[in-house]
C-alpha cells in the first residue's frame, strides 16, 4: 500500500510503538527484577537495573532444587520441557505430514471422511477434551511419564491441514513425472515431497515447538511426580511458598530462562519460517 500522508504515517508509528511498549514492558520489568535483592520488591517495582548483575541466573542454573523452593533443579525442569516440546513437535510433524500425504495423494474409500474427521478435531483443543483424555491416560497407566505428557498433544488437525493445503499446490505433473521416473510412493515422499516441504516444516516446527513448550494445564494434571515437572509449571510452584517470602528475583529469572528456548528457535528458523509462510518455491 502506498500512502503519502505524513500524518497517517505518524499515526501508524505511534500505534506500533505503543504496541511494542505494551509487549516489551513486562519483559523489561522481569529482566530488571532479576538484578535486585529480594527485599527491594517490598517497597515497589524497580524500573532500572540493580547491582546483582547476572548472579541470580548463575545461582539458579548451578544450584540444586533447594535454592528455588521447588522439587527439582531448574536444569532438570528445562530438560523435561525440552523433551516434551521436542517430542510433541517431531510427533506432530511426522504424523500430520503422513496423514496429509495419504489424504491428498491416494484415492481410497473414506478418504474425505478421514479428512473431515481430522479437520473436526480442530474444534476440540486439549482444554475442551481434557477430562476424557485424562481418563484415558489414567486407564493406560501413562500418568507421570513422558508418553503421557506428549502423546495426547501430538495429534494435530492444524498441521495436517497446513500440509494438505501445501500438497494441493504441488502440480499433478510433478507426481506423474516421478512415476514415469520409476519412483514409488515412498521414494516420491522422501525424494520429492519432503525436500519441497522444507520451508513449511520449518514454519510448523517453530509454531508447534512454542505450543509444546508453553503447555501448562496438561502437564499440571498429568504429573504428580516431581521428576516430570516442566519449567512452565516450575514457575507456578515457586510462587506457592508456604509461610515464606516469594522470591521475585528468582521467579523472574526463571521466567526469562523459560522464555529463551522459544526465542532461540524462532531466531534460528526465522528465515525458513518467513519463507514457509509467504513463499512458494515452485
Amino acid at each position: 500500500m502506498v500512502e503519502r500522508r505524513p500524518l497517517f504515517k505518524l499515526f501508524c508509528h505511534v500505534i506500533l510503538i505503543f504496541g511494542i511498549l505494551a509487549i516489551a514492558l513486562p519483559v523489561w520489568l522481569a529482566l530488571v527484577a532479576t538484578t535486585h535483592e529480594n527485599n527491594v520488591f517490598a517497597t515497589g517495582t524497580p524500573l532500572w537495573f540493580g547491582d546483582l548483575g547476572l548472579s541470580v541466573f548463575w545461582d539458579l542454573l548451578s544450584s540444586d532444587s533447594s535454592f528455588n523452593n521447588s522439587a527439582l533443579p531448574i536444569t532438570h525442569m528445562l530438560f523435561n520441557s525440552f523433551v516434551m516440546a521436542l517430542t510433541i513437535t517431531l510427533g506432530k510433524l511426522s504424523i500430520s505430514i503422513l496423514s496429509a500425504y495419504a489424504v491428498v495423494f491416494f484415492r481410497f474409500p473414506g478418504r474425505m471422511l478421514a479428512f473431515w474427521m481430522i479437520f473436526f478435531t480442530l474444534m476440540l483443543p486439549v482444554e475442551v477434551r481434557i477430562m476424557p483424555t485424562f481418563e484415558v491416560i489414567t486407564n493406560l497407566n501413562m500418568l507421570n511419564s513422558f508418553s503421557g505428557l506428549t502423546i495426547p498433544l501430538i495429534a494435530s488437525a492444524t498441521a495436517t491441514f497446513l500440509f494438505r493445503q501445501f500438497f494441493l499446490t504441488i502440480p499433478q505433473e510433478l507426481i506423474e513425472a516421478a512415476r514415469i521416473d520409476g519412483a514409488g510412493p515412498i521414494k516420491f515422499f522422501f525424494d520429492i515431497l519432503l525436500p519441497l516441504s522444507r520451508t513449511n516444516i520449518a514454519a510448523l516446527f517453530v509454531i508447534t515447538f512454542i505450543y509444546g513448550w508453553n503447555q501448562y494445564l496438561w502437564p499440571l494434571l498429568i504429573t504428580t511426580d516431581a521428576q516430570y515437572y516442566t519449567i512452565v509449571m516450575g514457575i507456578k510452584q515457586m510462587l506457592g511458598v508456604v509461610d515464606g517470602i516469594v522470591e521475585w528475583n528468582k521467579i523472574m529469572a526463571t521466567t526469562i530462562i523459560a522464555m529463551l528456548p522459544p526465542v532461540v528457535v524462532v531466531i534460528a528458523m526465522q528465515k525458513a519460517f518467513v519463507k514457509g509462510l509467504v513463499d512458494t518455491e515452485k
Partner: protein, 368 residues
C-alpha cells in the same frame, strides 16, 4: 527397436463420459506419430493411457510385443516430456536428469556418462549445477527433453511440450526435436493442438475428434485428401473454405455458378464444397465465380483476403494471395481454382466423397 499396437483402446469415466472410443493404431519403429485435434478430442488422454498415467478402460496396449495395460508407468520403459516441464524444483539440472536412472539402479559412472552426453547434445553442459528456477523457459524445456533422453527409453511421449514457449523459441525447439528424434531413432508420440507443429514433425499424423480417429496418414496425404470436413477444416491455415453447393444432374451449382459435368456418381442434392485459400487464384478473365473483398490481413509474405461471394446469399471465404498484391477493401475479384484441388463432402456424414474432378469441366461464364 520398438513398435506400439493399440487395439480397441477406449477410455470412459465414471460419469459415463467417453474420452476415447474404440481406437486402433499401429506405430512403427522409429516413427514420429503426432496426435492432433482440438481441445477435448482425447489426444492427451490417449497419450496418458500409453504412459500408464490413466487407466485403460478396455482394449489392449502392446509395446514391443508385450501387453503393458497393467504395468506401472515406471515399468513401461517410456519417457515423457510434459507441457509445463515438471522439473523437480529442488534438484539441480544434473540430478533432474539422473533421478530416473538412479531409481533404475544404473551404475554411477554410467549415469554420469549418459547425463553428460545428453547435456552436450542439448547444450546444457554449462547449466548442470543450476536449479530449474534459475533457467529460462527454453532451457527448462531442454532439461525436460534431457531427462527423457538419458533414459534411452523404448518410446518418447511428448505432451504439448512447446506450448509454453514464445513463438520464436517454439520454431527453434520444433526443429531441434525433429533432429533429435531422427538422430536417436526412437519411436515417438507427440500430442499437439497446433497444426503447424503437427504437419512439420509428423511421419504419421493422427487426426482425432471427439475420441475418434478421423484420419491417419502422412501430413501431405492428409492435407491433399482430407477424409472428412473436420480434417479438412482442421489441417491447413487458414482453414479450408467450405461452401454450400447443390449437385444437379448437369453439374455442381453454387450460388450463380455452375460447374457442368457428369455427376451421376454422387447423390443429387446438397453438398459441401471445399476450397483451400491458397488454391484460389485471382483471374482477370473467365472466372469461376466472383467475390467482394471485406477485410484484408497482411501477413508480410501473404495477404489474406476475407471475401463474400457475389450471390443472393453471400458465402464467406478466405483467399490467400502473395503479399504485395494491390487489393483494397471493396474490390470485386474473379476467382478460379484448379479442378483437382476441389473437394466435395457429404453434408450429413461429413465424409469426403472423393469425387473424380475429371468428370467436371469448366464452362465459359460471362458476368454482366
Amino acid at each position: 527397436m520398438s513398435t506400439l499396437t493399440l487395439t480397441n483402446i477406449a477410455k470412459s469415466y465414471a460419469n459415463g463420459y467417453q474420452a476415447v472410443q474404440q481406437l486402433d493404431l499401429d506405430i512403427n519403429d522409429a516413427e514420429m506419430v503426432v496426435l492432433v485435434g482440438p481441445s477435448g478430442c482425447g489426444k492427451s488422454t490417449l497419450l496418458r493411457m500409453i504412459a500408464g498415467l490413466e487407466e485403460i478402460t478396455s482394449g489392449e496396449l502392446v509395446i514391443d510385443g508385450q501387453v503393458v495395460n497393467h504395468l506401472e508407468p515406471g515399468e513401461r520403459d517410456i519417457a515423457m516430456v510434459f507441457q509445463n516441464y515438471a522439473l523437480y524444483p529442488h534438484m539441480t539440472v544434473y540430478n533432474n536428469m539422473a533421478y530416473g536412472l538412479r531409481n533404475r539402479k544404473t551404475p554411477k559412472d554410467e549415469i554420469h556418462r549418459l547425463v553428460t552426453e545428453a547435456a552436450e547434445m542439448l547444450e546444457l553442459s554449462e547449466l548442470l549445477d543450476r536449479k530449474p528456477k534459475e533457467l529460462s523457459g527454453g532451457q527448462r524445456q531442454r532439461v525436460a527433453m534431457g531427462r527423457a533422453i538419458v533414459r534411452e527409453p523404448k518410446v518418447f511421449l511428448f505432451d504439448e511440450p512447446l506450448s509454453n514457449l514464445d513463438a520464436k523459441l517454439r520454431v527453434q525447439m520444433r526443429i531441434q526435436i525433429k533432429k533429435l528424434q531422427r538422430r536417436l531413432a526412437t519411436t515417438s508420440i507427440y500430442v499437439t493442438h497446433d497444426q503447424v507443429e503437427a504437419m512439420t514433425l509428423a511421419d504419421k499424423l493422427v487426426v482425432l475428434n471427439k475420441g475418434n480417429v478421423e484420419q491417419v496418414g502422412t501430413p501431405l496425404e492428409i492435407y491433399d485428401n482430407p477424409a472428412s470436413l473436420f480434417v479438412a477444416t482442421f489441417i491447413g491455415s487458414p482453414a479450408m473454405n467450405i461452401l454450400d453447393a447443390i449437385v444437379k444432374p448437369e453439374g455442381i451449382e453454387f450460388g450463380t455458378s455452375l460447374l457442368p459435368g457428369n455427376t451421376q456418381l454422387i447423390n443429387l442434392g446438397d453438398v459441401k464444397l471445399g476450397l483451400r485459400p491458397e488454391h484460389l487464384q485471382i483471374v482477370e478473365h473467365n472466372p469461376l465465380f466472383e467475390v467482394e473483398v471485406d477485410l484484408i490481413e497482411a501477413l508480410g509474405a501473404d495477404l489474406l483476403l476475407y471475401c463474400n461471394t457475389l450471390d443472393a446469399q453471400p458465402q464467406a471465404l478466405v483467399v490467400r494471395v502473395q503479399g504485395h498484391a494491390v487489393i483494397h477493401i471493396g474490390d470485386k475479384l474473379g476467382l478460379d481454382i484448379n479442378l483437382q484441388d476441389l473437394h466435395l463432402f457429404d453434408p450429413i456424414t461429413a465424409k469426403n466423397l472423393y469425387f473424380d474432378s475429371n468428370l467436371l469441366q469448366k464452362k465459359e461464364v460471362i458476368y454482366a
